[in-house]
Symmetry: C2
């Protein structure tokens, strides 16, 4: 628990709790504790439970006072700023009047307050002991709190001598507009109820994660994205930021959280209409109704348009009949299905009127309150996984399960009682893509959660590399690992990429949350697909590198990097397989040159691309391709034009390749398959171009000169290390000469050297609390000197 | 159990078991069962136990017959070939004489034999039932066995229509000179006692792995490398081949096996002398004495020369005093220490005569028979790890532990009773490296075990990619994943590298086993270091790729790829951190140019390297650097000269870089640190040169034209994909032009297309039994057709 100024809460709805009577001596006695419980803007589960538990047994408190106080101990019902300010004034006035001894603890202060300003009734001695017990249980330094309250701050501790920039300022910059939400979640996750539990068996682990999710729901976090009426502020950006911050904790928690509130709740929110919201959203947001998002099938993971579960409408009973026609059509990998889910959003091929209408979403009850499967629903446990074993993934089969007509999530298509089908989107293809676009938020969230895990891994590895010494010059002390060229090389460019992705994803999230304003959803979706794939590949590779960089100590389970890697491993696969996403991105880039792509034959499209791009790709200047001047290499214009040139040229090349194949009579499908590697390359190149652009824009907007300088160094390292990684292409294309290539390698080394002394401050600026980091090798003393 | 011809066993010692009296009706009755139990050359634990267990309760067998039969049911005491041939003759003769009904089962055959050729005593009916019971318990098709025995083989099943080569022949080629040993181990590991046990807690898992190790010891596998007198044949090559084959099973098993028999036993074998062998080796080989290899310390993992545990000699009691001076000097990660080890080979700084003599190895008892630590020894559990949780890694502290003088492993240095120190190797540096050279076998073993895991992962991913269909041309069936360009690209070059490494490691193992003949140990050590690092990096990366290539199904624990990856993850770190090993390799390459390196200053060395290599590096031919002719690209000379040129040129460059830095006044240590990335690059380049050379030599020696052709395609794919991966270097060096680079990419694609139809046969040729593979996605039917 930290002291500090009043900040807004997770929840936008602030219940108007009864006003506290601050003249009552009993209320005044408890007021310092109420103040401190809310001081950091979060009432964590343990705080609420501690105070409530103690008050429950206090006979000196009458029932109505107790109730009034407990009214102010609901995490979702914080005091209003006005109320809170009144409390502070009361406390300050009272403390000013009282004797010096009152400053030694909150209990003393409370007792003094009760006596000096109240109605004159003296409190029994039992009340002092009760207050002291609560204070002790909350584990607060009361004296410090009182000092803070009275504005008597201690001398600031001296700034770290070699801090190259203000770490706190960098942290605030990274935290961005929702800094307070992030800070609140960090506080919340340090509550003892969220302590990591080692060695739990699968079943106990799943229950633990469910309980954690309930605590998050109690705080109002689950409903953040839902409309006001259902407990949220309708703020998707906040939800994603919360999701990202939760990912500093156990990743099973964040995935379960995402399944329940993001996918299941999101499907009702976005694919359903008002009556679905009314019936379900409140219970989803509070986790009273655990649910599933049942899209993937065993036979169809990526190609979901072809999934085979059927939903036939029966007008005689006004029901849909949900059916799994064969084993390959079972729903597979469904989160929340194996143990907890009671309802599932099931995607199935709708047939009514004797016609097929494509994939639609239906709410299907799968489990009774007592946990047993509903009749005609078969549920199987997917069993142990490589990671994320706190999430209960399951399989679902439906044997002609009947559900009411109202259970169709009918925002984009309606079925009348007589079975007449109607949709505002006439093309079934377009309708399907509109429905799928609800997945965009999930993709951004996964990318950001993966990035949080990357930050944890890098924090651990960089701190360890800064502490751990091995080898050294003859007769001199051993050298920290991070001083070694190979060690800098393996970690620091990845740190730069992590910063770059942070800003790129931040920007994308904000634009996604504003969707419909000034930008097409297709453009945002394409960027989300590209960044999801790029970021999660970065996560996998970086965590592997970080694990190896910690040597044997990195193999300890409690170092957590291995766990993070195993948990995030599937991030490259779920919410869209990365390779499939990148192929989609590339096709989108191609069709951007030709809006009528779908109506045009492929031959025409490819020819057009080849021609159009050709005129756009800049000519090469033979002097520039040979320049090895460090200033030129480090400057943004060179870096941007290199990444832009590559993206455009690769697109042009792939267009030409397609054209050639189709000219030769190849079938379009085969032609695309034949150039897949180039398509993926294209999409990657474009992703890097975009990331650099976003990162550079963000850096430019930073006002603090120190931060801007540090971030500029990172931007240079990101851009040049990406160019270096693809030097074969740049050399082959004649974009750089051999000597320039060599100079780029040298510049990357120099930038690694520049970042090296700032490395620990840069990971500390991620602001991951040690309690969440785990990893004794990064938070506890090492083997020490000889 | 398979039938087949008689093959040698794991063990070189064949006990001369008592001859069986094949005239005794009782013996004749049991003979068919004895025959079949030994038919595949291995008597597995379950077979022995089944037959022994049944015989124990048979009253119709007198004690002496029972004993004589049981004598022939000891895994380490097989019948001699002569004996076995006599059994077969007896059986054939008897079967030929007997009625047709006798052919329906081994029990019938046994009863018939007892009657027709015996001494005329009829056997009771109980004996028939007993024989039938045993036959049923062994789960054999008796009729088929009898048919085999009489040489009446069924028609061979038709060859797979599209088999591009003979998979069995390829398997025999890969299995090499120790094919029979490999085959025996495959058979053994399919015995039910080795079935994978899921969901065991850590403690139970460790016990399971210990029991598995005991079964291996019972078969004589543990002692393979020890001298004849201690149960082995002194054959290190066989030991390594066994180790590699065991790695198709759970990797905790193979690591525990390696710790006990390879590291602990190996240290006694190689660092100890006759009296240590006599006192310990027998008990180590049978696992009666579980032990540890305690080298690594918390503070010193890579830089073991500086480890801090001390061994002071006390002449008054003729003891060594082993001590852990501070917490950083505790022994860390010691396998077998947390639960099972009773003795540890402890590496410590020897002090006697008031002088320091450097690191030596001592046998220190750490645990009493009842499992409690010895006095003054502290043992701590390292706890959960990322993988290999079946191995009990622990920490050890010694508080002035006294051990007898005889416990110094004194092959390379002796301490007289009065404390006088004597060593045949005067330089303490050289002595240390000689002792460490005992680790070479471990490095080769780790590389090969990692390669086995890679083969398992590729087998699973290739088979899945061949079965799993997703997307396809409009209105046509979906396409197998492995037909996609991106999918071929991610798996097939890695398959080629796996084949290349197989042959390179085979060659290295054979040369290592012959060490001292024709080649310096330093050269073998350098190659072992390079290949260990190269191969284990390949393992990590390939298993990651294989996991992703299986999509969500790859995340299932029972798909086993994730488990293999987690278990092998530390292979890049243990037995020498890969980066540290590669730096050593590069320094070795540099000093190869200058034998007197150690006595010469670095400046002289670097200059010499720069000059000498310069004269060796070939001149570039401007026509050749532009040739895009596929025949040229696919031919060995181009591939070999490219990899050789790169290796030499990079060495020359790094020599120049060092020279420049030292000319500029940099300290040698700093100069080396500054060029570390180039040193690692050098070592990698040299490793690829060597691997290609070994692979090409092996392919050239293959007689079967089909196999040679297939392997040649793989050799091409390996070489060109490695060149492709480093095209930036080749372009930068002017070794290939832009158009040639493009042609190389095209050639890699073409080679992937050529390998694609053979891919499944190529992984099947690894010969990994389905029972060991696990992975229902690769061994059971998939979702099936629409």
């Amino acid at each position: 628990m930290r002291s500090g100024s009043r900040r807004p809460l997770f929840v936008s709805r602030i219940h108007s709790a009864s006003m506290l009577d601050t003249d009552s001596p009993r209320v005044r006695a408890v007021l310092p504790l109420l103040y401190v419980a809310w001081a950091d803007g979060v009432l964590t589960p343990s705080e609420a439970e501690t105070i409530r538990g103690h008050l429950r047994t206090q006979e000196w408190l009458d029932a109505s006072t107790r109730e009034a106080i407990c009214d102010h101990l609901d995490p979702q019902s914080p005091p209003t700023p006005t109320q809170y300010f009144r409390w502070i004034r009361t406390l300050r006035d009272g403390a000013g009047d009282a004797a010096v001894t009152t400053r030694s603890s909150l209990a003393e202060l409370g007792m003094a307050l009760a006596n000096v300003g109240g109605d004159g009734t003296a409190l029994p001695e039992a009340s002092r002991r009760a207050l002291e017990d609560i204070e002790a249980a909350l584990n607060i330094d009361g004296e410090e709190v009182v000092r803070d309250l009275l504005g008597e701050r201690p001398e600031p501790s001296p700034v770290e001598p070699e801090a190259p920039f203000d770490t706190d300022a960098m942290r605030r910059l990274l935290d961005g507009p929702h800094a307070e939400l992030r800070e609140d979640i960090r506080t919340l996750l340090q509550d003892p109820v969220f302590e990591y539990q080692d060695g739990l068996g699968t079943e106990a682990y799943r229950e633990q994660v469910l309980r954690w999710c309930e605590h998050l729901a109690d705080q109002g976090l689950g409903a953040l994205a839902y409309p006001d009426a259902y407990g949220g502020g309708g703020d998707m950006e906040k939800f994603i930021v919360a999701f990202e911050t939760l990912a500093y904790h156990d990743l099973s928690l964040v995935v379960k959280f995402g399944v329940q509130f993001g996918l299941f709740g999101g499907s009702i929110h976005h694919l359903g209409t008002e009556r679905h919201h009314e019936e379900y959203l409140d219970r989803v947001g509070t986790l009273d109704l655990p649910g599933c998002f049942a899209m993937t099938e065993w036979g169809h993971g990526s190609n979901v348009r072809e999934l085979e579960t059927t939903a036939r409408y029966d007008p005689t009973t006004e029901e849909f009949v949900i059916n799994t026609p064969h084993d390959g059509a079972r729903k597979e990998w469904i989160g929340n299905a194996a143990a907890h889910g009671q309802v599932a959003t099931v995607f199935a091929q709708l047939r009514t009127d004797g016609e097929e209408h494509g994939v639609h979403a239906f709410l299907v009850p799968i489990r009774a309150d007592d946990g047993t499967p509903k009749p005609r629903v078969r549920i199987e446990d997917c069993g142990e996984k490589v990671g994320l074993n706190g999430v209960d993934n399951g399989r679902l089969w439906f044997d002609q399960v009947r559900i009411p007509r109202a259970n169709l999530l009918d925002r984009y298509a309606q079925v009348a009682p007589d079975g007449t089908y109607d949709s505002p989107i006439p093309s079934s293809g377009k309708r399907f893509f509109t429905m799928l676009s609800t997945l965009i938020g999930g993709r951004i969230s996964v990318a950001r959660a993966g990035l949080s895990a990357t930050k944890s891994g890098l924090t651990i590895a960089v701190r360890y590399g800064n502490r751990r010494r091995q080898f050294g010059p003859k007769d001199e002390p051993e050298v920290p690992l991070l001083d070694y060229r190979t060690h800098k090389r393996r970690l620091l460019p990845r740190l730069a990429t992590t910063y770059a992705l942070h800003f790129a994803l931040d920007d994308l999230t904000a634009r996604f949350a504003r969707k419909g304003r000034g930008e097409s959803l297709e453009a945002i979706e394409a960027e989300a697909n590209a960044l999801k794939a790029y970021a999660t590949w970065h996560t996998s590779a970086t965590l592997q590198e970080a694990r190896e960089a910690c040597g044997g100590q990195g193999y300890r389970a409690d170092t957590r990097i291995g766990r993070l890697r195993a948990d995030t491993d599937v991030f490259t696969t779920f919410e869209g397989d990365n390779t499939v996403l990148m192929l989609q991105v590339a096709k989108g880039l191609l069709s951007d040159f030709q809006r009528e792509f779908r109506d045009m034959n492929l031959w025409g499209m490819a020819r057009l691309v080849a021609d159009e791009v050709a005129t756009q790709v800049q000519e090469l200047n033979p002097v520039v391709t040979r320049t090895t001047d460090p200033d030129h290499l480090r400057a943004l214009p060179f870096q941007q034009s290199a990444l832009t040139y590559r993206a455009e040229k690769q697109l042009q090349n792939v267009g030409r390749r397609l054209q050639r194949r189709i000219d030769d009579g190849m079938e379009p499908f085969d032609a695309f398959v034949d150039v897949q590697d180039h398509l993926v390359q294209c999409a990657r190149a474009d992703a890097e171009r975009v990331i650099l652009e976003r990162f550079a824009d963000a850096v430019e907007g930073v006002e603090d000169a120190d931060l801007r300088e540090t971030l500029t160094t990172l931007r240079r390292l990101f851009a040049l290390s990406r160019i270096e990684a693809d030097l074969d292409w740049f050399l082959e294309a004649g974009y750089v000469s051999g000597s320039k290539a060599k100079a780029i390698r040298g510049a990357v080394n120099d930038l690694c050297d520049e970042v090296r002394p700032q490395a620990e401050a840069l990971v500390n600026a991620f602001g991951i609390p040690d309690a969440l980091l785990g990893a004794p090798i990064a938070t506890k003393p090492g083997p020490g000197p000889k």
